[in-house]
Subunit: 332 residues, 2 copies
């Protein structure tokens, strides 16, 4: 179910730039796949790509219209349907990370069938998986884990893939969430897999590879998140990571969506992840800390990174501001 | 989706007594719900209930035919369908824990619709769940956890419910697997829930209750099982257990289905479960060990129970041979 590129990024009538953050992520990490953006009247987002009509994009070779926008509720807006219909008629597939399925809109299902195009709902796995077998497979694996949800696990994984490739290392980002799948063109939304198959889905996602090849796997949730830790643990076991990178957002006052739950201590979180990872890979170890300091003043951020690095004895970076070179150094 | 009783237990053409172990479990734990057994020619199982024809059972008031047999592969055998059709015509629902769905047999689906009867596939959740909110809810909860799969977690939970009720305590077994659901008449097959909702499903399964009421929740898998630990952790967090009972099968040489994985040390396993449980219930503690010694000589079994009890400082029983009174004592 690989999503074909080049992409045309659909921004719809995004109410603000944040509503188009999926499109922003795709454009940032896969600029070579993105021909342009297509916006409806009233759109208040602009991700800096050329504006194209659907017809222009089709002529330029666009293979997939990527719905890179979320409105309130994360569902498909009725005002978007006409444009999606046109894209199908022009020969594009449509890929979406929204909650509801493209194929549940009868007009889209009918047109896709008529024109032989695909409606790709990356949130909904389209295949079944085996139960995990736990067997060691060749190749190296790095997994980003977190103190909480939405602390930069995808960003950090993509930054590490980029840094590794820049150094000539063999590396592939492996996506486990909606935006990641649109960026990678493939992957599994692990939180949407049936519970019995979480680890098996990750074994499938990150198969045997060359001994010097790194799969850089996007983590989900947190072992310390009371709603989602089961997903995080199944992902950790299926990934059999050689290396963990712990991601953190230091200004958060409680776990995301759980006002009564505090954020775990970094060292406690690191050790819990290492201990759990060692069930399927006894060599698993944390190789770095990735801290999102975007909400902090520069000096305070620098102090914090230094302190964490001292406390844990690990390279500690803000992946967005500083890159991840010190973490990749540690792997070599 | 409560399964109505009384039940008629369908043993089909079970190849041996083990093939009818689901029926055996239902008859053992809910004798008051079971009118009799219905067997096809060639059936080599007998669970000791009166043999009844479908017509006799219908006249006696049977509400549900429970498919309490598994053949190789755990799927519905074509040779069973005629009997299931007759049961529907006679006004019974059908409940099954098999892998394939009753409703996928067109003749059964049509007859059920025609007669207004229900086809209940307990392996497949029929409702959606919320994401877990992690909020503390009234009532007490006990969860059975395990060193491995299939070590007696359901049996132990049912034995504890029975012991509590015998003492006049308020207690309800909460089923999380197929056989447990057929025994309880209700429940959620947590390993079949979409991963994001594991903990939420358990919060739903074990709602707020009287402060002196115990939900005795059936555990699944093991935190140390490389295929299923995600399910176990999500269940542990959703259950918010006050009390844990650790179940163990001491003769096992490796984890079930995973020849390369050893069984965890009891103390390590106990501490890992307590630590994980304390995320959602800081008061969680292990209150006893339940050891299945059926594969051991009596003297060796007695020695082992004594040694474990000494090592861990907890009541240690074989729930099948000795009951669980010492564990329930510990709770009071």
């Amino acid at each position: 179910m690989t999503i074909e590129h080049p992409y045309l990024l659909f921004l719809g009538d995004a109410a603000d730039p944040l509503a188009a953050k999926t499109a922003q992520g795709v454009a940032h990490w896969r600029p070579e796949w993105c021909l342009g953006q297509f916006r409806l009247p009233g759109c208040r987002a602009d991700i800096g790509l050329p504006d194209m009509t659907l017809e222009e994009a089709a002529r330029a070779g666009a293979r997939t219209l990527v719905v890179g926008v979320a409105n309130r509720g994360g569902v498909l807006a009725p005002t978007w349907v006409a444009a999606l219909e046109t894209a199908l008629r022009l020969g594009m597939d449509i890929a979406s990370g929204l909650h509801n399925r493209l194929g549940d809109v009868p007009a889209l299902a009918a047109l896709a069938a008529e024109h032989g195009r695909r409606l790709i709902d990356v949130r909904h796995p389209t295949r079944t998986f085996e139960v995990a077998n736990g067997r060691k497979r060749p190749g190296k694996r790095l997994l980003t884990v977190g103190t909480d949800c939405s602390v930069g696990k995808m960003y950090t994984a993509l930054a590490i893939e980029k840094e590794m490739r820049a150094r000539g290392m063999k590396a592939d980002f492996r996506a486990t969430g909606q935006t990641g799948i649109l960026i990678a063109g493939d992957g599994v939304s692990v939180d949407a897999v049936v519970a019995d198959f979480i680890s098996g889905a990750v074994e499938w996602l990150s198969p045997a590879n060359d001994p010097d090849h790194w799969d850089v796997i996007e983590g989900q949730g947190s072992l310390f998140h009371a709603s989602f830790a089961g997903v995080s643990l199944g992902l950790l076991h299926g990934a059999q990571p050689d290396a963990l990178v712990l991601c953190h957002e230091p200004t958060r006052t409680h776990m995301r969506g759980l006002p009564d739950y505090g954020v775990p201590d970094l060292k406690v979180c690191l050790e819990a992840n290492e201990a759990a990872a060692r069930l399927t890979n006894p060599a698993a170890r944390c190789v770095g800390i990735s801290v999102n300091t975007s909400q902090m003043a520069p000096e305070a951020a620098a102090d914090l990174l230094a302190r964490i690095s001292d406390d844990l004895g690990l390279p500690t970076v803000d992946a967005f501001k500083d890159g991840v070179a010190p973490i990749v150094d540690r792997l070599i």
